[in-house]
């Protein structure tokens, strides 16, 4: 599909706006740090030296490029379109999260910050932050809701082994959103020596932009790999959306490829109709949380409501503002998959391909199974397998009634 006769996509604005979304809704104390980060980021994004160093780091330390894998048995199981998996689960630390933490840690070093903080839900971003902190010899504290600490004990221990301190957060729903509140409080207090590595395309400007750009390596590679393997672009991209960083990382390099359909899959939890889910793009309203204007899950008086998902990494009431923008633009469609369907897909991928996906990524796989069956074999679906599922073995075993 020729896209030459329209203006190439460009967002955000200088103020960090994606249409009506995004912006910078934070306490005044943080504005200076955000300005400083924005200035530095704009300068390094045009600095060939920085970009070369980042590429080297992604190659030697993270293990990129990750494969684009044609999943024949999964395709056969679905019975329709050909399915490719972008294997972000094969990155060092087991998820796409490290693409961003490597980049942000390099920014932190340039700013002379000696301490990294992060929020984490499933623990993947916490592990990825603790990992780069260890690599660079920086102090690291990771905020994690006590509910998530209970269901992600392996990653909690991993972070400790990496030398990070995991700080339990007992406020509110004791999950990712509360961890993010606490990380913001830490940052306000220690802004002089601390860089806050936000793990998703969420938060105040410039985070949604810079996390997107650091994750865009996923889509850049996938685009080239698909052209090499198939001689054409995929028909459809699929990724799970919590905050939305793995999704935006895959989608963004395809934004001007009008022939490529894009679908983000939110966590349907116990079903959208029950209200117990984490699907703000499907069932939320625009509002302001954690520094940006975006879709979120709140009640009629503006209080953020508790979310639910079997997957800790998707259990978040907001979403990156650029996804909100794409939803309104119609550039992407956002759908949802409930806990049971995601768990079923988790098992299918284990048994058809010998790949254990994270429960987050299992949402993308589940929706793909549905969609592939409706499409002809000539169609190509490219799914972001954002992380591996080792961390979820306890959760799945618990559902099976097995103690491991």
């Amino acid at each position: 599909m020729p896209s030459s006769n329209r203006i190439p996509y460009e967002a955000p604005t200088e103020e960090g706006r994606f249409g009506d979304y995004g912006g910078r809704f934070v306490a005044e104390t943080l504005i200076h740090a955000l300005d400083e980060l924005t200035r530095l980021y704009v300068s390094v994004s045009q600095d060939p030296g920085f970009q070369a160093a980042l590429a080297q780091e992604l190659k030697d330390y993270v293990g990129r490029p990750t494969p684009l894998y044609r999943a024949d048995r999964l395709t056969e199981h679905a019975g329709g379109a050909r399915i490719y998996l972008k294997r972000e689960d094969l990155n060092h630390t087991g998820a796409h999260k490290i693409n961003n933490t490597v980049g942000q840690a390099m920014l932190a070093s340039r700013m002379g910050k000696t301490r990294l903080i992060a929020e984490t839900g499933a623990g993947q971003h916490g592990v990825a932050t603790a990992t780069v902190a260890a690599r660079l010899g920086l102090e690291c504290q990771v905020y994690m809701g006590s509910e998530d600490i209970a269901r992600q004990s392996i990653n909690v221990y991993r972070m400790k082994l990496l030398g990070a301190e995991v700080v339990p957060v007992n406020a509110g729903s004791r999950t990712l959103k509360d961890a993010m509140n606490e990380a913001m409080r830490d940052w306000v207090t220690n802004v002089d020596n601390t860089h806050y590595i936000i793990g998703s395309v969420a938060g105040p400007h410039p985070y949604p932009m810079l996390v997107r750009d650091f994750q865009a390596v996923i889509g850049q590679e996938a685009r080239d790999q698909c052209l090499a393997a198939e001689g054409r672009l995929p028909d459809l991209l699929v990724a799970c959306v919590g905050g939305g960083s793995n999704a935006m990382g895959l989608f963004y390099p395809f934004v001007d490829d009008d022939g490529v359909d894009i679908v983000g899959v939110e966590a349907g939890g116990e079903g959208l109709a029950t209200g117990r889910h984490a699907a703000p793009l499907n069932a939320g309203t625009p509002g302001v949380l954690h520094g940006s204007h975006t879709y979120l899950m709140d009640d009629s008086s503006g209080q953020i409501v508790e979310t639910h998902s079997v997957s800790a990494g998707l259990d978040y009431p907001g979403v990156g503002p650029e996804h909100a923008y794409w939803k309104d633009l119609g550039r992407a469609r956002y759908t949802s998959v409930d806990d049971d369907e995601a768990l079923a897909a988790f098992r299918v991928l284990n048994q058809t391909e010998g790949i254990m996906p994270a429960l987050e990524s299992s949402h993308a796989v589940a929706w793909t199974l549905r969609e592939a069956a409706r499409r002809p074999p000539e169609d190509i679906i490219l799914v972001n397998l954002s992380g591996r599922g080792d961390k979820d073995i306890h959760t799945v075993a618990g559902i099976d009634g097995i103690e491991v």
Partner: protein, 265 residues
Amino acid sequence: MSRLGERFETLAADGRKALNTYIVAGDPSPEVTVPAMHALVRGGADLIELGVPFSDPEAEGPTIQAGIERALAHDVTLADVLDMMSAFRSDDRDTPVVLMGYLNPFLRMGYEAFCKRAAHAGVDGIIVVNLPAEEAGTFRGALHRRHMDLVLLVAPTTTAERAAYIAAQGSGFLYYVSYKGVTGARRADARAVAKRLTEVRAAARGLPVLVGFGIKDGASAAGIAPHADGVVVGSALVETMGCTAAASIPDRLQAQVREIRDALN
């Protein structure tokens, strides 16, 4: 002129420093709030900052978080806060009241709808912690049309140039945050505040500057006040709300505020 403007004129004429007192609406339960507000005034508060409960108060320390949670346990909404305001105004037409909160509840009600109801309820202005000057234009416009003020904050990290920009965007007064951190985390450092306030007051161009964060009692208030137009006390009062039987709260608050007022005079 708004109640805030009148109050600051009177204070200036009397050569007195402003004492602004913060409590959370609905803490520890909704029926306590209006009597507590009157008690603040009896104790000598010149202004009241009424906290609007929000589920994710990212700039608050543990004390105010706990106060907000006590209020949210009673499902106190922004609409309820406006009802409390109306009730307070039926007995007190003079004391300026500023609502302080986070943006989402205001956004959810809608700026126009909120401003209409707030003006009717006798609200004089608002402070929104997570609404920096750049993002505040639309809300400010709606507030000004109803003769209410948008009070903006200046932090220790704010540059002088930016402080002037913020002061030009805000009205009512300018809120100087005394340290980098969350509410109630530590004591305000009078020397550091004094050093910075010379610059901030110059940038404020006559807009009164009140200092908040880390002012807990008469001594800390008296240490800061000479450098500013007034002080804000929050966490110390919310702490009292949390550990006092509901029936005793008004008397305790009145005595606590009186101690601070006396130290300021």
